[in-house]
């Protein structure tokens, strides 16, 4: 896992923890642009289930993805209390709809562990590593694994 090794190069890491599909996840704070409340989207034609549509973010057209659906859980029924995390991955800016955002988590890089090998599914493929938290743990989402390469139109 070169991506994980990359992550472990720095000493101290900060993550934003969130809940999607009822489970704990986290995203490295450097990849997050801002966090905003859910606003209605403009629906895109021919879009997959996990793509909710696009919003106007200060003049830019940003697609919004249901993180739970993308990870293989049931779709989130968005209400005013749901949250959109705006992330920047490579050249793209994308909004992720999540159930809630919990806290900012600072950990030493060496506490991050590799994901134990098990049967693969949509969720595990998008997990970069795990962080133990006392009795619990949280999973680091790899945005590039989650979203795939830039501008690739599946043929």
């Amino acid at each position: 896992m070169s991506q994980l090794a990359e992550l472990q190069k720095s000493e101290r890491l900060e993550f934003v923890t969130l809940v999607a599909g009822g489970q704990n996840f986290c995203i490295e704070i450097k990849q997050i642009r801002e966090i905003r409340r859910w606003t209605p989207v403009t629906v895109l034609p021919h879009s997959p289930d996990h793509v909710l549509g696009v919003i106007n973010l200060r003049g830019a057209v940003i697609p919004i993805i249901d993180l739970a659906a993308k990870l293989g859980f049931a779709k989130i029924m968005p209400t005013e209390r749901h949250v959109i995390i705006i992330i920047a991955v490579e050249d793209r800016i994308i909004g992720l709809l999540v159930e809630s955002v919990s806290e900012i988590l600072g950990v030493d890089a060496h506490t991050v562990r590799e994901t134990p090998r098990g049967p693969e599914d949509t969720t595990t493929r998008a997990i970069l590593g795990i962080i133990p938290l006392g009795d619990d743990m949280t999973k680091i989402i790899s945005l590039s694994a989650l979203l795939g390469p830039t501008n690739q139109v599946a043929a």
Partner: protein, 698 residues
Amino acid sequence: MTGDPTMRDVFFEECEDLIAALTEGLTAMRDGRTDSETVNAVFRAVHSVKGAAGAFALDDLVGFAHTFETVLDHVRSQRLALDDRILHVLQRSGDVLADLIDTAREDLPTNQAQVDPVMADLQSFLGDAPADAEDFVFEALTLAFDAPDDATSTYVVTFAPSAAFYTSGNDPVLIIAALQALGPTRVSVDTSRLPTSLEELHWQDGLLSWRVEIDGLGSDLPILEVFEFVDDLCALQVSLRSADTDIPDPPQAGTTAAATADDVVDTPSVDPQPDTGDQKARSAQDRGGSRAATSLRVDPERIDRLINAVGELIINQSVISQRLQQANLPNAAELFADLDDYKLLAREIQEGVMAIRAQPVKPLFQRMLRIAREAADATGKLVELITEGDATEVDKTVVERLADPLTHMIRNAIDHGIEPPDNRAAAGKNRQGKLRLAARQRSGSIVIEIADDGAGLNRPKIREIAVSKGLVAEDAQLSETEIDHLLFAPGFSTAKEVTNLSGRGVGMDVVKTAITALGGRVAITSQFGQGTTFSITLPLTLAVMDGMIINLGGQTMVVPISSILETVRPKAADLSQIGLNNTLLRIRGEYVPIIDLAERMGQSATPREMTDRVLLLIQTDSVPQCALAVDDIFDQRQVVVKSMQGNYGEISGISGATILGDGKIALIIDPEAVAQGNTAYAATNSQNGRDVSYVAAC
């Protein structure tokens, strides 16, 4: 200095201008408009490239430029007569120089196989022309622009540094020392501009000017090289003084009349400000000429930011006007008048900003001259490329993205369109084929035409090939236009054998795709035996578009006005059913298929009577005419186009998005894709209105 990337960037940017000047000059020479100024301009361009390339240790470039420059020097001093052969070699040298710059820019190894033959050609001219100083003394009577009449002439250099010269850390002593290194010199200083009282003296003001006489020089080149890096910062005059006369150039009269060294020169000819009237004589010709057009170099990103901001301003303006209308204010008439002013101003700013991005197509067309020349050489055909409307301005992005399709079309026209000279002669045509590349503006669009006077399209053969490649059914009834458009079908290539010129595995379909991506269209007209014309119609700008705002199942969308022929509210009598799902609209005796846009956009079909809807009659390149059924038409207005591709990916039938007055996003329909996709869509008829082949990256 070699390691500084920004200096390098500036150098390569300047090289682009220099190459443009070079190409222009060489074209003028080819067209028989050779005068000393043209040759000088070409010479200067090559010389400047050489000088600057030397500073970056680009040895291959310097070496080639040096030989090129030497040949040009012989041409300008008329030691070499311009004939077709030398013109041809000069053109090719220009190409090679441009290539060398490109390879240097990319840090690629030099393609010696390409450089060496041209270099050899250049050297062959030097071989039979006298190369060293003693020989050309005898040719002095040719009265060339500045041919020295003595191998060891004396040059008079007058230079007056400006304040900027000093503030940028230059020192006149070093310049003079460099001049002294060239030969025996006599230096004098002019102190006439010094103020009489010390209080008024600002030592950095550049009040001094120097006059240096240098003996024993063969040309003024070494002198100009000394001033290479300060020529913007001082007023410079270089003139020749023959050994026996004491009067050089007219502007020098004042200086030379004053015999003693420290004497007063109070004529304005040595005003330290660069490019004042009297200085023009030599300085403008030697250096300033290439800088005649004043222009700003601006990072395109800054302009893009400005364009984005202006786009926001326009959206903001419509938000405010919508809010005010909703507010139902009493006595709002004046407010709305002010609002109209705001709107006008915003439009004006927008047009102004767009104008910054607009660029003439001239550099693009000049590149095509080279493409045509190479294509003609490769195919052994005689072709003259005539360009028209060089000054037509188009959005920068359009100019950049047109280069590839145009290159391809020019090559195609020469490879497939124009016949070999013998065939042309047999057909009673001029042996030299004519290719016309013209640009003009036509009501909000740019039209670019590529017209050849070649054989024209062989329609039966095109059809035959299309059938053999399985692109059309054998029994298909095709109109001439439809046959012509087969050229753009993927996998179509008319050349019997793949030539290395145009058959590079890409066809005209790539051209078509590139132009469609720019929001343009291609049309073909062709007369058998007379020639073929491709016309490309492009929008003036990519950032703003006139759109029809429509309602589609409660969602607001935009259809580009440019593709709408008319809007129709159909009566029951105008509609006729074909089968279960398809409806035809009868309009002026024609039957036009109706496409349900809501269904095409994947909205769940709520069966609504066609008579309740509005039909937009559209015309595209691929489908002659069709009608899009929408629910309502709201408005017609300019919208700012936002691309979806960066963050999301392509969506079938959607070309982009815009932001409406209320801040919501409206998708922009791509009528071409909708009309084209219609047949394919009906065939797959996916159940949930989702076409898997178009699922985007997310």
